[in-house]
Symmetry: C2
Subunit: 411 residues, 2 copies
């Protein structure tokens, strides 16, 4: 009798977005004329930059001719792309990386979900709370978390609350943990941490032989000078951290699919005998066995992000979304709603007014001004009483949304 992986039964249904869809559908049904604006999902709306389009066309043409056709490529990605990533994203920050320390992938969701496979099932986990659900789900499937309790917490996960009370700065756990998921600029809160705070985590990881899994998918949205773009800006981080990045939000690749993961050769895990073993070697084996690599055409598209034209176009995209973010943030603040994030990230995290819970505010926003956002509690228990709006809408819709909130929301 073939038994299933029963850890899957511990997964939470994709309750959050299903429940949002249910409430929106029900509202639409009762109010067919309402013009709903969605500022909930983190998907981009602007098309791919011109330089990317041109490069994609060029690569398609290469695939049409026997002399330039490409069959199997390296699962880890082509060096033409990896080298550009090193030259543009890391070398200017004083970070030295080798070509074989970068793994091109179909995006940060799969990589942050799959990375846990290279660790033992009894490794312990810490996540910040609220948190991007993919970090947790992969671990649930692997049997590393146990069951969820009534407070919405998995038995074996250490949750590190990040709320207005601690200024969204995660505090080091009292206990020893092995795998630490950090995400800055943060999804969902849009907040960042300083080099000094990150340094504490690198030191903790070194002391405890822990590994930091650092999701920097939103680093390109950083506007302020002193905010770290990469964890490797912290001395010694190459010994304890894996970093995830993505072209999804930066260059509009949510439907085009490309990202990458950095696994420096110095980062070690340990055998049960206590011998150090390079995680780079394990991830390389995982990717070459269980992943087929990113299409050649798509890698050529991503490469164009690093051309002069590509860099300008990507900057214009980011400026566009960050202008939305500013508008949302200022609009909310102008009517007395307290906001966080939105300065170095395309996410605005707001404190629901008058202590409403996240879902009550969701209903209020939907019914009074026909705007859909994401209840903070959907990202974890510490998200209760918060709410996420995203800056990825188009300008007109975002403007109208803010006008409605300012003029029609009953506060």
């Amino acid at each position: 009798m073939t038994k299933i992986n029963e850890n899957y039964l511990n997964l939470q249904g994709s309750y959050l977005f299903a429940e949002i869809a249910r409430r929106v559908a029900s509202f639409k049904n009762d109010n067919p004329e309402a013009k709903i604006i969605k500022l909930g999902i983190g998907d981009v709306t602007k098309p791919l930059p011109g330089a990317v389009i041109e490069s994609l066309h060029g690569a398609v043409d290469e695939m049409a001719k026997e002399e330039t056709f490409r069959g199997y490529g390296p699962e880890q990605g082509y060096n033409f792309l990896t080298q550009k990533i090193i030259d543009f994203d890391y070398t200017p920050k004083g970070i030295q990386l080798d070509l074989d320390e970068i793994f091109i992938s179909d995006g940060a969701k799969s990589d942050t979900g799959n990375i846990q496979e290279i660790f033992s099932v009894d490794s312990t986990i810490a996540v910040t709370d609220p948190v991007y659900p993919a970090y947790i789900d992969g671990n649930v499937m692997a049997g590393r978390t146990g069951k969820i309790n009534e407070q919405g917490k998995f038995e074996k996960i250490t949750y590190i609350p990040c709320t207005a009370e601690n200024n969204f700065i995660p505090q080091l756990p009292d206990e020893k943990v092995d795998m630490i998921y950090l995400c800055f600029p943060n999804n969902p809160t849009g907040t960042t941490v300083s080099r000094e705070e990150l340094k504490k985590w690198v030191e903790y990881a070194k002391k405890n032989q822990a590994v930091i899994l650092y999701d920097a998918a939103y680093e390109a949205f950083i506007q302020e000078e002193d905010v770290p773009h990469s964890i490797y800006e912290i001395e010694g981080a190459k010994e304890v951290a894996i970093e995830f990045r993505s072209f999804s939000k930066v260059a509009g690749f949510t439907g085009t699919r490309c990202g990458f993961t950095v696994v420096p050769k110095e980062v070690m895990g340990y055998t049960s005998e206590g011998d150090a073993y390079p995680l780079n070697k394990l991830w390389n084996r995982r990717q070459t066995t269980k992943f087929n690599g990113v299409p050649y055409i798509i890698q050529r598209g991503a490469e164009a992000v690093y051309t002069e034209a590509g860099q300008k176009q990507v900057k214009a995209l980011i400026d566009y979304y960050m202008a939305n973010a500013k508008m949302i943030k200022e609009g909310l603040e102008s009517i007395g709603i307290k906001t966080f994030g939105g300065v170095n990230a395309p996410y605005i995290w707001l404190k629901t007014p008058e202590g409403m819970d996240s879902w009550a505010f969701f209903d209020k926003l939907l019914t009074e001004v026909h705007i859909v956002g994401t209840p903070g509690v959907g990202f974890g228990p510490s998200g209760e009483g918060y709410f996420r709006l995203t800056a990825f809408g188009n300008r007109e819709a975002t403007e109208e949304a803010i006008e409605r909130i300012k003029n029609q929301l009953k506060l």
Copy 2:
């Protein structure tokens, strides 16, 4: 201390192709003028069909405009592609499938490697021997196989020998196994099985509540009328089988990356309490959590395979490679080398002459006629004394290779 997944330490190094590369490099070094022809790796050489190229360009243009731009798509794939697969690959064979029974992916290697994740770690496995290594490696990583012994067999895997002695027809195992990997047309042997033989497996699976993992990546190469293209041609197979397919070899997608997996809603696994649980639901959750979906552009490319022009072009590609296969097979037979496969598959599996072992024949072929193939023993213990040549080379190289084998190989 972060412990690694020590199951990885049981993996065999990617010894086979590394060793081939080492021997070829050493030969080249000693014989810099030798013109080496590679008939070893199963990678295609002809460019993408015109219909695919046109469709890829069209999709790139859609991504350039806000009105037609696509962001996040369903991780399971777009219905425009899934519907074509049903209409062209299944309905004509009398197989009914729903849209949500097909999962578009980046190819059959990842899917056959990843599918084991939805089963319990103590499920038992059977593979045919010789075998495509990806089926085993995913299971090794998950801890389902134990260690490898001196005969090159993992402790906990049931190996089902397929050799000339049994006409490459896998026999039902005496013991009960849970997960059964079958691949027809077979890689590496190029052989197929009849409906009657497949029926025995479906009955075995039903009786033992086992699951058949059926790799049909080479089905498009089938030339003979009575060979089954899909396991679902067998009555009742939808209750016990998952089928894997790929555009890689059919349409030249080895560098473009698209395939799909069929998980009928009737296929069940069981909880430890013995309750049936649909595998479709588990694979859906696995893919939506740990995979980002195939790029929109690429899915539009794959869709074009099913246009009238695309179907003609794909047939021409297959005819081209199968003409190579015929030439290789007939050339070898003409000098008394016994061959298998090559009729309904692009692989020719040959019995090494005079009882040479696989590696000895590799060296003979390389040094005497400067041709690189793949030693059969690299695919498993029952591959010893066999050797694989592929039909994916271009015509001229394949012709020259066969001329050399016929005229210069010392037999």
